[in-house]
């Protein structure tokens, strides 16, 4: 990355860029300081956040960004540890072959997301510590409804699906707070779509194991039994109107209710997500 070139390009569209950043030299120095403290991977992010500070009018304040990133980090901690424990059970939990390989792939991504978010948070503030998790869903009691999640493969996949689908909704739910957020927004979006890929694959694994689910979410159907266990995770996924436009049979295209709900994944508010996540965290 040639920083001088980048500043040059920015100068073309915004001649006042150096006023915003004090001077070119100060900007380069500031960036060098940041870069030295960061993993190389997070350098583009630091670069983005520097400009975020420089440009007024963005809705994403540093505090908001820090909050959203720590929120994302908490979810990634949860997913990373979930898969890590599952893999530690070996073939007692996950069949050898394609299933194990897939979970290893997903686990690797979640671990990378944790590291990435920590690096991204570093220049902005303090990263939250990893909570103590209770994957039984018992809020720390260890006796929640998913007690056998690491011994019962079908339950493991059901919880995995729920966590991935919820992760997708959680990122979406806070996207608006990162509007015009530059590299940080792009990074969040680039994690969001990977979670959706995971969700799709886990759903296919469940389908292969005999559960009637599709790679996408139809209505509020989770394929989890009893459905009430994960009802909050899927609540609202059945909407068929987007921005006041009714998607069912839109423009006479014959779009079914199911297709209308599947075609759009719905966000979940931070409040709703945290209420769900709380079940998996020991206070």
């Amino acid at each position: 990355m040639n920083l001088n070139n980048i500043f040059g390009e920015i100068e073309k569209v915004d001649p006042e860029v150096y006023d915003r950043l004090d001077t070119r030299r100060a900007a380069m120095k500031g960036f060098a300081n940041l870069g030295g403290k960061l993993a190389l991977a997070a350098v583009p992010l630091a670069f983005g956040s520097m400009f975020q500070k420089a440009y007024a009018g963005t809705k994403s304040t540093k505090e908001t960004v820090l909050q959203v990133l720590n929120y994302a980090l908490t979810l990634e901690y949860l997913e990373a540890e979930f898969y890590s424990i599952a893999l530690s059970k070996g073939i007692l939990l996950i069949p050898m072959g394609a299933a194990t390989t897939a979970i290893q792939t997903i686990s690797g991504h979640e671990t990378s997301h944790v590291a990435f978010l920590k690096a991204a948070i570093a220049p902005l503030g303090t990263a939250v510590a990893k909570p103590t998790f209770d994957f039984s869903g018992g809020s720390g009691s260890g006796t929640g409804p998913f007690l056998t999640v690491f011994t019962d493969y079908s339950l493991f996949l059901a919880v995995a699906q729920t966590l991935e689908d919820t992760g997708v909704r959680a990122y979406k739910g806070r996207a608006a707070e990162l509007v015009k957020g530059g590299d940080l927004l792009t990074a969040a979006l680039n994690i969001h779509s990977v979670e959706a890929r995971h969700a799709s694959h886990i759903r296919q694994m469940r389908k292969a194991a005999g559960v009637d689910v599709k790679p996408w979410i139809t209505g509020v159907i989770s394929g989890v039994s009893p459905a009430s266990l994960v009802a909050p995770n899927y609540a609202g996924e059945d909407v068929t109107t987007q921005a006041t436009i009714n998607i069912v049979n839109i423009n006479g295209m014959g779009t079914s209710v199911n297709a209308a709900t599947e075609a759009f994944d719905e966000p979940l508010s931070a409040t709703d997500v945290l209420a769900i996540v709380k079940l998996f965290i020991k206070p």
């Binding site: 569209v13 792939t105 599709k214 423009n251 779009t255």
Partner: protein
């Protein structure tokens, strides 16, 4: 092809181009000269210079950009379902039909959301695709889905209205679900490999310029993205 399937295709195409049923079937679902004519005469006022269909600027520009990509995807899956590849399974037919319906829903959503700002129907060019071949169809589907995800991810930063950003987010994760499904059909376990992810496990996004350079191969109508926001 059953009558009901044919009716469905016709119904799906009818908004894009007012074609006679006979003519439509004659072109076997592909876009037609009429659509090209529509696109050519409505896109600019200059009689001599073909600058292409102007996506416009600002958030509308980004929505038109998404609308263009959804038009491409919808047209593709309509054709896939109209002329299924050799050896397609019942489950594949069901899922690919659903994907077709999702893409049509996306396309029509953008058309309505944009209203008078919407670009014209684009003429597609699927001459490089062998629709009887599973490899060709799924390979193209994979390319389109991955491209769509990278496009939405890359365009997010260009959107200024939070509501549009959330809407793009609602669609991109469904495209990612499609992408993972198609990839697994081709090779189980390839749902999120390092051709689409970087070393940090983040999807590789693309700018509109990068996306359109790829998409234009399949779109005969020239697209003019020069007014799109770039930062």
């Amino acid at each position: 092809m059953s009558t009901s399937q044919r009716e469905e295709i016709i119904s799906n195409e009818k908004i894009i181009a007012p074609l006679s049923r006979r003519k439509f079937l004659g072109y076997a679902g592909a876009a037609t000269g009429l659509m090209a004519g529509l696109a050519a005469c409505s896109k600019n006022n200059s009689p001599s210079v073909d600058t292409g269909v102007d996506l416009l600027s600002g958030d509308f520009g980004i929505l038109n950009y998404a609308y263009a990509l959804e038009q491409l995807e919808a047209a593709f899956y309509i054709k896939v379902i109209a002329s299924p590849y050799t050896g397609i399974t019942a489950d594949e037919t069901a899922r690919l039909t659903e994907i077709r319906d999702h893409e049509i829903a996306h396309r029509e959503f953008f058309k309505n959301a944009l209203g008078a700002k919407a670009i014209v129907a684009l003429e597609v060019d699927f001459s490089t695709i062998t629709f009887t071949s599973r490899d060709s169809v799924l390979g193209t589907a994979k390319a389109f889905e991955d491209l769509g995800v990278s496009a939405y991810n890359g365009a997010g930063r260009l959107i200024t209205d939070p509501a549009y950003l959330v809407l793009a987010g609602k669609i991109v994760s469904v495209e990612a679900r499609h992408a993972a499904y198609i990839r697994d059909l081709i090779s189980n376990g390839s749902f999120a490999d390092n051709t689409v992810l970087d070393v940090n496990g983040l999807e590789k996004s693309r700018t509109p310029v990068q996306v359109l350079a790829i998409a234009q191969t399949y779109i005969k109508t020239k697209i003019n993205a020069s007014n799109l926001p770039t930062s």
